[in-house]
């Protein structure tokens, strides 16, 4: 363990990343370029999130990782183990106990507090990318607040399907200034972006960090006559009977049988009676 510097990255790198994080917090929603390092994992597995987590982590922190809401998936387990080994921090699966939570594609159901930091793994930080492939041009569009094209994308949705069909990575406007990609979280989670916790977004391959300070105003883009709708599957959870949590659809047999269960495993487990958990 002593072979590693605390939390894997060297101190110079962490300092550089912290600078980017501070700048991101100062300009909410603005994508700050940073010199992303090679990490001992492939791009797309959370290299951005891991670098941000490593830079904000202290030896006293309690660390939690979720992947699509679950603590027990490959990606979550391996990143948790990585920091157990390189930083020797306490780890937990309980949202309440964690001080730093790294997430891929979900915001925990449990409301976060001012003492917590939520770190997102971001594949494509640029919300305008699919409309405008040139980085020089998208930067200019952000600088000049030319966001008409975002609504063109939503317009096309409604024209083709009768409703806004963007279900994840639903674009938001931060503090009435920058349009931001909230990473591929379901749009159900968008209202939770207005949070008490610090939210940091790291994109390793694209070398961008951006941030939402606590209590930042975050508005999902929509039309007056087609308002934003944070929809979810219209079922209760099959395990904990929650009607308010975000659900995964699970195919259970070859006959097309299916069940809907909470995607947040910690939330779901905490709602089930103890004896059932043991069974």
């Amino acid at each position: 363990m002593d072979d590693y510097n605390f939390a894997y990255l060297d101190e110079q790198t962490k300092r550089m990343i912290r600078r980017a994080i501070l700048k991101g917090l100062a300009v909410p929603g603005y994508q700050v370029p940073f010199a992303s390092r090679e990490m001992p994992m492939p791009y797309g597995w959370g290299t951005g999130g891991v670098q941000v987590s490593a830079s904000v982590m202290t030896p006293d922190d309690t660390f939690k990782v979720i992947d699509q809401g679950a603590d027990d998936t490959t990606n979550a387990v391996s990143i948790r183990k990585f920091f157990e080994k390189t930083a020797n921090v306490a780890v937990t699966e309980h949202t309440k106990e964690a001080s730093v939570i790294q997430t891929r594609h979900r915001i925990p159901e449990e409301l976060l507090t001012e003492d917590q930091i939520l770190v997102y793994q971001v594949p494509i930080p640029e919300p305008l990318r699919f409309i405008e492939p040139r980085e020089t041009e998208t930067r200019k569009m952000h600088a000049l607040e030319e966001y008409g094209l975002m609504h063109v994308r939503l317009y096309e949705n409604i024209a083709q399907h009768g409703a806004i069909t963007t279900a994840y990575a639903y674009p938001v406007k931060v503090e009435e200034r920058y349009v931001m990609d909230p990473s591929p979280i379901p749009k159900f989670d968008n209202p939770k972006l207005e949070s008490d916790a610090i939210q940091l977004f790291g994109a390793g391959r694209e070398q961008r960090i951006y941030a939402l300070p606590p209590f930042t105003k975050v508005v999902s883009l929509d039309f007056d006559d087609h308002p934003f709708d944070p929809s979810k599957a219209d079922h209760p959870c099959a395990l904990c009977c929650s009607t308010t949590s975000y659900l995964d659809e699970v195919i259970v047999d070859d006959e097309g049988g299916r069940m809907f269960v909470c995607s947040d495993t910690d939330y779901c487990a905490s709602r089930q009676p103890k004896e059932e958990q043991a069974a």
């Binding site: 000049l144 607040e145 030319e146 008409g148 094209l149 609504h151 063109v152 317009y155 096309e156 409604i158 024209a159 083709q160 929509d222 039309f223 007056d224 006559d225 087609h226």
Partner: protein, 259 residues
Amino acid sequence: MSDVIPLLDIQNLSKNYGARVGCRDVSFKLYPGEVMGVVGESGSGKSTLLNCMAGHLTPDTGQILFDTRAEGPRDTLRMSEPERRMLGRTDWAFVHQNPRDGLRMRVSAGGNVGERLMAVGARHYGNIRHAAEDWLERVEIDTDRMDDRPAQFSGGMQQRLQIARNLVSGPRLVFMDEPTGGLDVSVQARLLDLLRGLVRKMGLSAIIVTHDLAVVRLLADRLMVMKDGDVVETGLTDQVLDDPQHAYTQLLVSSVLQV
């Protein structure tokens, strides 16, 4: 005419590409409701001039005074970029020769027309769609093609769609770069007819760059002839075409095939 403030007042505009001359010392005034034609052979600097005026190129010297709605005449070259780009999507319109340059080929026709409205803050889907429908009708595109992509349109339809997309925001000044280039003659005729109707009805001012003398004869009130970056002759369209003074204009007029 002297009391009227010109919509566009170009003063001593020059643009060089290194040692080569793009256009040299061009000055003219364009009054509200007036259509100015710019003709000349390929490489005469007419496209350079147009792109300088529309803000796509930065001229080396000169002034471009535009009579803005809020503050009266202002030099667009001294404006900040956000202001200039705002003009570009509200009071100005630019019709490219190739509709592919002026349209978003992967966005439906309705989305193409609605883009300018959304860019200036329209947030009501029904209203945007209604405006798009209205404009597609005005440029004679069936409204049931509204959700098709421009890639599925013919060249003439694409060009008409581009015009609708530009005029939806109610601009006061339209820049056109060879709007009928690449279209066959019957389609050209319909497009010209449409353009003439729109320009007259909306009271638009326009600057049309073309090498086609028939186009300017039909559309333009005044004509400017360019050669090697210089303006060699200006005047009323009919006057210039019927009684050309400069040797180059005489050559140009006499080169048109009489059918």
